[in-house]
């Protein structure tokens, strides 16, 4: 059990800084997912926790102990790599037990531990095989077993599922969550896949360009994204954005073409006259006959998803996606009304990109 404290951590290579002062507190036993696009510094941050990258500035402590100058194995971390990083010349058993061997554990004890861990991830019958003879999913299991067997206080995952096919990815996701619950280590998981982030995380950390955009439970991040960036990054299909100005009298946001989208009155009053971006989740929009919704948009095309359909509309110069299980009669080039509940509209300041409503909730999470 160990909590991780990251304070003002920066990382620069030569003159370019890639992580610009990150603060994060990970509670003991928590499963934290760091989510972001490639190049946002999430892997670098993880590798700094692991000790594989030096920390340019700031401080990282694990279980209250500053680890900046400790070797990776002294930090009590175990890591699962994207490409598994198994020793190709060793059997599965030797791969799992190598850390214990280096630590000087006697053979008998080692074999027993390896056997127990292998059983827990369903590798017992593969102990004598080489990694080359295993499938991707099995290799990833070996990599996890190798990490588990060291009984780490902190479990680090560096995009461990991105080399697996879609079905296996979901399966391994469940497995990882199960293992986390079982061994009660603190887990930090880095990924660019929001589905992994949403499903695995106790708390989600969204990073962009070397800074943390938002920290919160998956639910908070989905329902109250702190910025335009988070809103657009989390949620699939992605959030629709439009520009407009808050009109307090009508409790709405006035779009450039004169359409009005209702928002809660209190919010409109607080930000009267402000230029904003509004974010509309495709699943929050519903389809109504032209002229009866908040605004009309021109239907373009539809994607069949099975349980629902994704309707694409053209509105001014932006594309609007609507996720709907309804099957209204639509025709390309014809207008259609789109409706949304005032509470479902996300409001962001046009200049800063920050969320305008519920600042208390967002603030609290960033500072936590």
């Amino acid at each position: 059990m160990a909590h991780i404290t990251i304070q003002n951590v920066r990382k620069s290579y030569a003159k370019t800084e890639v992580v610009h002062g990150v603060n994060l507190q990970v509670q003991s036993g928590e499963f934290v997912v760091i989510l972001g696009p490639s190049g946002c510094g999430k892997s670098t941050l993880l590798r700094m926790i692991a000790g594989l990258e030096s920390i340019s500035a700031g401080e990282i402590s694990i279980a209250g102990k500053v680890v900046n100058d400790l070797e990776p194995h002294e930090r009590g971390c175990a890591m699962v790599f994207q490409n598994y990083a198994l020793y190709p010349h060793m059997t599965v058993g030797d791969n799992i037990g190598y850390g214990l061997k280096v630590a000087g554990l006697p053979r008998a004890a080692r074999v027993a531990k390896v056997a127990a861990v292998a059983a827990s991830v369903g590798l017992t019958e593969f102990l004598d095989r080489r990694p080359g003879q295993l499938s991707g999913g099995q290799r990833q299991r070996v990599a996890m077993a190798r990490a588990i067997v060291r009984e780490p206080a902190v479990f680090l995952f560096d995009e461990p599922l991105s080399n697996l096919d879609a079905k296996l990815r979901v399966q391994m996701r469940h497995e990882i969550r199960r293992i986390h619950n079982q061994i009660s280590a603190t887990s930090v998981f880095v990924t660019h896949d929001q589905a992994e982030g949403m499903t695995l995380a106790d708390r989600l950390v969204v990073m962009n360009k070397g800074v943390i955009e938002q920290v919160g439970t998956p639910e908070e991040i989905y329902h109250a994204p702190a910025s335009v960036y988070v809103g657009g990054f989390i949620g699939s299909p992605a959030m629709n954005f439009m520009g407009g100005m808050v009109a307090p009298k009508q409790a709405c946001v006035a779009l450039e073409n004169g359409s009005q989208i209702a928002i809660p009155a209190a919010l409109a009053a607080a930000h009267a006259g402000r230029l904003v971006h509004i974010g509309l989740r495709p699943e929050a929009l519903s389809l109504v006959p032209a002229g009866t919704g908040a605004f009309d948009a021109t239907f373009d095309f539809v994607e069949e998803l099975g349980p629902a359909r994704l309707y694409h509309f053209r509105f001014e110069d932006v594309m609007i996606a609507v996720l709907s299980a309804d099957k209204p009669p639509v025709q390309a080039g014809q207008p259609m009304g789109l409706k949304i509940a005032p509470e479902a509209v996300h409001l962001f300041a046009a200049d800063t990109g920050k969320r305008l409503d519920a600042p208390a909730l967002v603030q609290e999470n960033v500072l936590a």
């Binding site: 990776p72 890591m79 198994l86």
Partner: protein
């Protein structure tokens, strides 16, 4: 580009067969010459079929050239060069590839430059060093004035000397110090994924542990290849052993073989004993052939068992 046409197939195979023939013909002639008596060997037109004197000639060559002793000497040198080379190149390549330090590139280039200076080119300075392995240090001391200083202060003349002439060390060490092996290892080490190094770090393995537990097992086929090359290379050494060794008990086999091949002037007009010389050649080339054939099985096994 792989072409699959009957004509090209035939042509390429014909070229291959021709090449093979060109390689095997001299070998065949050696065997033929080694299996005849002297009269038959020098007869005109030459005999092109093997005779029945092979065993007798082999025995004569073995006794005349003291090949038994020479085998032992040469084997010791070849094994020494092979082992020394494998260990030295492995460690240097390890240092060059896996450690980040400022001297990394300069050291790499220094090693690289030695490729352009094979032993044959720098044989005179190498001989000077072999005559006194401490010569470079002595020179440094002399030039820096330390020799003079020590002499003036204590009256002791600093004279470092370590003679390598007529010793196994003198035979082996200059042959070990070449860049080829380092390159072979370097190229292989560069293919090791970074994550493997990091996994070992997370497992708590230090650099030497990583070298021993991961790198060396992974470079088995490399080691086999290098061992083969170095064994054959050392076994066939002629020029350096000829220079550095005057004591006959250290003579290497290629040097001894040249003595079996008679010089016309030395025989005083007598017909050179080609049949004995050829029989000796057959014996001498046997160990490298055995090594190559034996190690080839290793290569193949290494290629089939690709772990990556």
């Amino acid at each position: 580009m792989i072409e699959r046409t009957p004509f090209l197939n035939i042509a390429t195979h014909a070229i291959l067969a021709f090449g093979l023939l060109m390689l095997l013909l001299p070998m065949y002639l050696v065997i033929v010459a080694a299996s005849h008596s002297l009269q038959d060997v020098v007869a005109v037109p030459p005999n092109l079929l093997p005779g029945d004197q092979l065993w007798i000639n082999l025995q004569a060559a073995w006794a005349k050239g003291h090949l038994g002793e020479r085998f032992v000497t040469t084997f010791i040198v070849a094994m020494g060069v092979m082992t020394g080379k494998i260990v030295l190149s492995c460690i240097t390549a390890f240092g060059i590839v896996f450690f980040d330090h400022r001297l990394k590139m300069p050291i790499f280039w220094l090693i690289f430059i030695t490729l352009m200076l094979p032993l044959e080119v720098r044989i005179v300075p190498t001989y000077a060093v072999a005559a006194n392995a401490f010569l470079p240090f002595q020179t440094l001391l002399d030039l820096s004035g330390i020799t003079w200083l020590v002499n003036a202060l204590s009256g002791v003349e600093v004279k470092l000397e370590w003679n390598l002439l007529n010793s196994y060390a003198g035979l082996i060490m200059p042959l070990v110090a070449t860049a080829t092996g380092t390159f072979l290892y370097r190229q292989f080490f560069l293919t090791i994924p970074e994550e493997l190094v990091e996994a070992a770090k997370m497992d708590g393995a230090g650099p030497l542990r990583f070298l021993w537990d991961v790198l060396i097992p992974l470079s088995r086929t490399n080691i086999a290849a290098l061992a083969t090359i170095m064994f054959v290379y050392a076994w066939n050494q002629y020029l350096w052993p000829l220079l550095v060794v005057t004591d006959q008990s250290y003579a290497m086999i290629a040097v001894e073989l040249s003595r079996l091949v008679p010089k016309f002037s030395a025989t005083g007009g007598e017909v050179p004993k080609w049949h004995i010389a050829m029989a000796g050649t057959l014996i001498v080339m046997l160990p490298p052939i055995v090594v190559v054939v034996a190690m080839q099985r290793w290569f193949v096994r290494g290629l089939i068992n690709t772990d990556k």
